[in-house]
């Protein structure tokens, strides 16, 4: 079963993505509320997928993407963020994210973005 790590400073959103991931048979191996913890957990667990919020305390999502892609340049990272300006989306992709969905998102948005990443 493919594995996933969920990174978001909101517990409610982490829980929602966890439920959504389990519905499409992904195994949630870790969750993190900030970028610093996420980089450590990624290094330890090497999940197949990562969902990444951008606005977080301690280390934000863009820095965290850099931290993770320094460990594994092929990391499969899906940004899930409310920051809906074009420049931020482009920067996230430049830093190594593979996809981007905007908050608020529907279950269908999440499922199809995660499936697309897995198929890649």
């Amino acid at each position: 079963m493919p594995t996933i790590m969920i990174v978001d400073d909101s517990n409610v959103i982490r829980n929602r993505i966890t439920r959504g991931s389990e519905n499409i048979e992904l195994e949630v191996v870790a969750t993190a509320g900030n970028g610093k913890d996420a980089v450590k957990l990624y290094d330890l667990l090497r999940p197949d997928l990562v969902t990444m919020d951008l606005t977080m305390p301690e280390m934000d999502g863009l820095e965290c993407i850099q931290g993770i892609t320094n460990i594994n340049e092929d990391a499969n990272i899906l940004v899930v963020s409310a920051l809906s300006d074009k420049a931020t989306g482009i920067r996230a992709l430049e830093y190594g994210a593979r996809g981007f969905i905007y908050k608020p998102f529907s279950d269908e948005d999440l499922f199809s973005a995660l499936k697309e990443l897995l198929e890649d």
Partner: protein
Amino acid sequence: MKEDDLQVFLTGVQNYFTQMAGEEVFVGTPYLSENTMPAAQEYSGVIAITGRHKGIVYFTSPGDMIRRLLVLMGEPDISESNMMDLVGEVANTIAGNARKKFGERFEISVPFVIRGAPDEIMLPRQNRSFVIPLEWKMHKAAIVVSFHKD
């Protein structure tokens, strides 16, 4: 700040409720309010705005509305900690979505959640704010927008 600038917040909150709760929220006519009497319900999720603009955006809501929203989102844990988390997340999402209009230099803080209204430091009492009234399942809430161009 101009009245036109409010549209992105109206659209943001409508989109939030449609996507997360599967139901529409009624958005009333925005109005200007003196900060001496700030709009406040039980919980307020506050986002500080920096960069090209300075000020705050906050979402204020009664607890019952947040409980209901958590249930509709499928969250089994209706603790106060998750309620406060969601109030902050609503504010964060609506402020973050506003970057579509204001661009990346509309910098938003992580949310902080308080009971009642923001204090004088966050919301200077000599200024005025735009209040966007909301009604959802008989509960009254609001988005309050108070920032200026630097």
